[in-house]
Amino acid sequence: MSYDSVRMNEQLDALDPSIGEFIGRYNVITAVSALLGLKPARQTLFLFPGGMASKLKRATKAWDPTGPASQVFKYKEVWVNVVTLLGGEARQLRMHKTTAGDYRDKEDRIIIADGVVNLLGVTPYVGFTAWCSLKMIDWFVFPWDWRRSVDDVGTFFLDRFLPHFQERVQAECNNADPLADYSLIGHSAGGMVVNWVLRTLDPLPATLRKVITVAAPFYGYGGQLHRWFEGEPLVNEGGLFTKAIIKTISSLPGCYSWHFLPEGFYSAHQVDFESDPAYPLPSYPSADFATSNPVDTYNPQPPGQRYPTMAQSGFDLAELAKAATLFDTLSSPLSAAQAAIFVNIRGDTTANNTLNTTTWKLVPPISPSPIADSSLTPGDGVQPAWTTRDIGLAKQAPGNVINVFGGDVAHSIIMDSPQTIAHVATVLGIP
């Protein structure tokens, strides 16, 4: 079996306990409803956590290409706990590309997603899932490997996870079909995954009720440009591991899709970006430091003078090109049927302190960073409000773009916000 086959089997196995918990909750609701003489309409809600919010575990030994099909692995958490922050441990997240173009984990030690992160007792989405339980929504948190590209994750979800999930639930819940009425909701980069699923399914299943994004960056944000040059200060260890962390980040295909949108797309849709009532984007968000001319993050000019080289950091122009193609998919025109079930929720903390545009100096040198933030805008503190709605949806179904306001809609806590939850309830028809 190939590395990827084994990895995906391992990933599915890791999700089995969570499926078991789903089944447990499902059967409890069934039993309690019967006891009370209720017949609640059942619906399943899959929650895709944000980028970096899924816990990742790494095998303690390498995959053996000459080994048996049923290799047994043990795993240790690699993202994110206190240990991750120490000794440059985050370098273990690095990936490498095979000659066939597949991505493998460092040292061929398989990494899988397993649950939501917990750091020092803090776990996201607790409020949201508690609300789901209270409202007898059959919820499932789908952890995903945010290092991988959105289409990679979406393909696994559709082709491997959903059939397995459906089969197990039917087998253990008196043949109840969990996909008879289901919805997807994605937070932040998780919204990019559900967006990909929506635009990829053809035909749309009649039983797919809604696809909801919350604080999802449809058109990127400035943070990623910094990472190519600065790494991640929380794990750089004061500069000791900066180069290695940058190399690690540059090896992750998923990160190439977090850029600002292609300049051509912006230019072609400038009117739409400008006409966002309160959150206009009047110019391309990335500009040359000296000339103020736009610098396309996907087609940086002049060639060789914007990003680090492959030799310097592993920055992969081929991966950038793939991410541009992926952007085309994620921003392709919506059909009427897609728009009808698509909902974007975006946050505005009203603090007006969300980093917005950037300036970009030519490289070399790549250090100090050639990227600087150049303006602030309304948003959720991480994502500018102009990036968290789909411009096509805003035109086709403006009522499906929902704004939420205040401090409790800050990016990392927006899913637990009472406002967000109230809107999700309305969208899903939950009383």
């Binding site: 020092l120 979800f157 998919t329 602030l376």
Partner: protein, 134 residues
């Protein structure tokens, strides 16, 4: 001087959380792996209250999803326009801020359609997979 922003994400600022992490990194320059090293880490963390640790955890998780961690105050950089709409409603557009970037017009979008797929959840699990689980 801009007013400090009250952030419900955490009572700890990005700077304070980063300082906490840096101190911990200095105290543990190598990744703790052995039981003894992990116990030392536990002992180190036990010096702090649960509330303090949760404040660090909330801020770090937020900043990891964000970008290089620092507190951004209104006024640090030029602002963009503010004219908030109703949750579903539309308000008149406001004039946009100039951040010095010029734009080009007329470029056609790359409007490629998504690769089409069949509906989810209808494919049977492979026989190999079934056999493996038995």
């Amino acid at each position: 001087m801009a007013k400090p922003v009250i952030d419900p994400v955490s009572s700890m600022t990005s700077e304070a959380a980063l300082e906490f992490v840096r101190k911990m990194q200095k105290a543990f320059p190598k990744t703790p792996r052995s039981k003894k090293e992990l116990a030392a880490l536990q002992k180190y963390l036990a010096k702090f209250t649960d509330a303090e640790l949760r404040a660090v955890g909330s801020r770090v998780l937020s900043d990891l999803m964000q970008r290089p961690p620092r507190t951004i105050n209104e006024g640090d950089l030029p602002p963009a326009p503010i004219a908030r709409p109703e949750p579903h409603g539309a308000t008149p557009p406001t004039s946009g801020p100039s951040v010095g970037a010029k734009t080009k017009k007329g470029t056609k979008p790359k409007a490629g359609r998504a690769r089409k797929r069949t509906a989810a959840g209808t494919k049977p699990r492979s026989a190999r997979r079934r056999a493996r689980r038995k």
